[in-house]
Structures are given as structure tokens and as C-alpha cells.
């Protein structure tokens, strides 16, 4: 299947730094993908290029089979909701009406249901909205557009936990009914993780992880207990992190555990805790994520 979004050798340089460095990703249609990484990792630049709002310095991006920039046929099938989106001097209802003219799949009923959910009033001026209400308006447009490609860049500045849950629930429900390609950048990994089928992690402009979310859960395990037993179990395997306190050690071991491993852990009194997706992403974006065959260098980072 042709991916809904693909980037090949995508690079974006500014005068004094490289925001994106040789990005190669392919996002399948009909999936929700999390775009994760620290501030300044390049998430917004990548989304802006995918949305046709910025040009790459080198390489290419294709959305729904074509370059998005200045391509109305693609842009009408794509919605991009930015953090702190600016709006012209309009009322909420007018902003929604303008969006409804642009997006062919616009769903009015969904838009008004979302306004109710978020407590937004149609006659209110957009510039009088609070930051959270402006985010709610962006989310409303992003979901009601039902665009084949839906890009959310940290869409919930100023939204409280309840409103964010409304967003997640509405997104999942509408996605289930009208599948589309969703790319969501977020810092709130724990909250959003369960929605993702795939995750892409950027760090300093490069892709450091591109995987199915469920393949990552349990892909690394924290092993803690008596030092000798910990080292015996970890012998010959990639390790991300080593910590020691007296005779106790705690390490993060990469790779699936066999039944024998578990038995060995149990009989030597070791605790096994699988790493969550969030913890794995943190490892990935602090640069510790190494392919299995480079794991031997890990010992150098060991802190006693």
C-alpha cells in the first residue's frame, strides 16, 4: 500500500542550524501515529513541511501521493492544527463556517457537538478566547474537517486534563467511524500513548525511533536486585542504564525475556518491571538508544 505520508532524505537547514537531517519515514494510511521528541527536536518543522507550509532544503515529502506545497488538491484533504494557532478577527461560528467551506468532508454535527463538549460559544470573538479555548477551537476544526490527513502539533496548550480527555475520546470515536491518517505531536506521552499505532521519535532533527507502539511495550525491562544476580541475567545483552547502590543494582535490559529468564530472575530474587512506552521514548530521545550490536559501548556509561 502507498503510504499516506512519506519523506525521503528530507532535510531542512536554517542559517545556523539543521532542523531536520535526512528524515526517511513512511506513514501508512488509516493509522494514528505519535510524533514524539524533546523541544527543538524538529517536530513542528516536520509537520509544517508535511502541511506544505514550509519547503525542505533537500529531499522530498509526499502527502497522498503528491508534494503538498501549493497543491490545493492535497491541501483540501489535509488539516493542520498548530499549537497556538492564530485566527483572523472572527467569531467562533464564522471561523467554523470558513473551515466548512474549505474542507469537503466537513461535519457540522460533529463541530457543534465539540463546541458543546468544550463549552465554546459560536458568537464569541476568537480574540477574546482564552488560550485553552483557542486550542479547543483548533481541535474542533481538526476533527470536524475529517481530512484524510490530520496533523496535530501539540494541539492542547492551556487545555485541562478533562478537556484533553474529551479530545482523545472524540478522536478515537471519530477515527473508528471514519478512519484517516492522524499524526499527533505531543509531550504528554503517557496520556496519549494508547491511541498510537505507530510512534516516531525525533532527536536533534533525526529519527531515532520509528516503530509500532505495541512492539515497544515490554521491549525493555528494568531488572533490579542483588548485583551479581542482575549481572548474571544481563550477561551478553544490550543494557541501557546501569545503577548501583551498595550490593544492589538496577539496569535496563533490552529485548524480550524468555520463560527461562523469568525463572532465573525469580529464583535469584530479581524484580522485573517492563518499561512503559514513555520510558522507552525518554531513553530514545536522550540518545541512549543503541542498536543491539552497539551495546558493548554501554558499559562506558556505567555509573558506580
Amino acid at each position: 500500500m502507498t503510504p499516506a505520508i512519506s519523506c525521503a532524505g528530507l532535510t531542512r537547514r536554517y542559517r545556523d542550524h539543521t532542523a531536520l537531517d535526512d528524515i526517511n519515514v513512511a506513514i501508512s494510511g488509516g493509522t494514528i501515529t505519535g510524533l514524539l521528541g524533546r523541544n527543538g527536536a524538529g517536530k513542528t518543522t516536520l509537520l509544517r513541511i508535511m502541511a506544505g507550509q514550509e519547503f525542505p532544503t533537500a529531499g522530498s515529502v509526499r502527502v497522498l501521493g503528491a508534494p503538498p506545497a501549493e497543491n490545493e488538491a492535497v491541501l483540501r484533504r489535509l488539516v493542520f492544527v498548530r499549537e497556538d494557532q492564530a485566527y483572523p478577527d472572527l467569531k467562533v461560528g464564522q471561523a467554523l463556517r470558513a473551515a466548512s467551506w474549505f474542507y469537503p468532508n466537513w461535519d457540522r454535527a460533529l463541530a457543534s457537538a465539540l463546541l458543546d463538549d468544550f463549552g465554546l460559544r459560536a458568537h464569541k470573538a476568537v480574540k477574546k478566547l482564552s488560550r485553552g479555548q483557542r486550542s479547543a477551537l483548533g481541535i474542533t476544526i481538526g476533527l470536524a474537517a475529517r481530512a484524510e490527513v490530520t496533523l496535530f502539533d501539540e494541539p492542547y496548550a492551556g487545555l485541562d486534563a478533562v478537556a484533553r480527555q474529551v479530545f482523545y475520546d472524540r478522536l478515537l470515536a471519530d477515527f473508528a467511524e471514519f478512519p484517516r491518517t492522524v499524526l499527533l505531536s505531543t509531550h504528554l506521552i503517557d496520556e496519549a500513548a494508547a491511541m498510537f499505532e505507530g510512534v516516531i521519535v525525533l532527536d536533534r532533527g533525526r529519527v531515532v525511533l520509528d516503530a509500532a507502539a505495541d512492539d515497544l511495550r515490554g521491549a525493555a525491562t528494568r531488572v533490579s536486585g542483588p548485583c551479581l544476580a542482575v549481572e548474571a541475567l544481563a550477561a551478553g545483552r544490550p543494557v541501557w542504564e546501569r545503577r548501583r547502590l551498595g550490593s544492589q543494582a538496577s539496569i535496563v535490559m533490552v529485548g524480550p525475556l524468555s520463560a527461562d529468564d523469568r525463572e532465573q530472575a525469580r529464583s535469584s530474587g530479581l524484580d522485573l518491571t517492563p518499561l512503559s512506552l514513555q520510558q522507552i521514548v525518554v531513553q530514545a530521545s536522550t540518545g541512549v538508544l543503541a542498536p543491539a550490536d552497539e551495546a558493548s559501548s554501554e558499559t562506558e556509561r556505567t555509573s558506580a
Binding site: 493509522t31 478515537l172 470515536a173 473508528a176 467511524e177 500513548a193 494508547a194 505495541d214 511495550r217
Partner: protein
């Protein structure tokens, strides 16, 4: 992960969805011949990606524990409960007896003492339920 309706973040979510359904079938909460929740219902309940929910359901379907009726949905297959209970029985030693023995060994509790402890705990339970 407080919003996950009880799923944890360290195990693939589709595995957990499959486990939950299997447990419900084994415990009789989902009877044989009954329709299991749809992928979208599961996704909304657990607040997970519908594709993940579908993958969980398919684990049980591939195992023959669920059967698809075209256009209606997935149903608990005949004999599913017995099969799941037999499997749980087979896993009982590994999941409960082995760890019990390991911990007992660490504490220096020998087999006789262990028998006594189990019997006493059993009596207390029976007494409590009377």
C-alpha cells in the same frame, strides 16, 4: 497510566485486551455463543487505538476461541471456556506454585511447614465463609 481502564503500559496492549477477554470467557462473564464487544466498543472502553483492539480480538479468533459471523461480529466459540480453564490449570504450577516454592526456600520454610501453612490458610477461609 490512569486513563487506560486498568491496562498497564509495560505489556503490548493487544495482549492485554486478549487476556482480558479470555479471562472474562473463563470466568463465565461472556458466555459461549454470546457476542463479544466490537473492536470500536473495546477501543472506546479501554481508550486505545481500534487497530490495537482488533489485534487483541484476532488473537482469540486465531486460537479458535472466538468465531466470526459475517456482518454481525465475533462470538464466543463452543468449548472456549473449557479450553481456557484447562489452560489456566496447566499454568497454575508455573504461575503460583513455583514462585511460592522459591519464596519459601528463601525464607527457609520447608515443604512440611509449607503444607501446614496452606492448610491453616485454607481452614481460615472456610471458617470465614461459614
Amino acid at each position: 497510566m490512569p486513563e487506560l481502564a486498568g491496562l498497564d503500559e509495560g505489556t503490548p496492549l493487544f495482549v492485554q485486551v486478549a487476556d482480558r477477554l479470555a479471562r472474562e470467557i473463563a470466568d463465565g462473564g461472556l458466555a459461549e455463543g454470546e457476542r463479544v464487544p466490537s473492536t470500536n466498543e473495546l477501543a472506546a472502553f479501554y481508550r486505545i487505538n481500534p487497530a490495537t483492539a482488533a489485534k487483541g480480538v484476532n488473537v482469540l479468533a486465531d486460537d479458535g476461541l472466538l468465531e466470526k459471523r459475517r456482518g454481525i461480529g465475533m462470538f464466543v466459540a463452543t468449548g472456549a471456556r473449557q479450553r481456557l480453564l484447562a489452560r489456566r490449570r496447566a499454568e497454575f504450577t508455573q504461575r503460583y506454585v513455583d514462585p511460592l516454592l522459591s519464596e519459601a526456600a528463601r525464607l527457609g520454610i520447608d515443604t512440611d511447614e509449607l503444607f501446614t501453612l496452606i492448610k491453616e490458610a485454607g481452614h481460615e477461609r472456610e471458617g470465614a465463609s461459614l
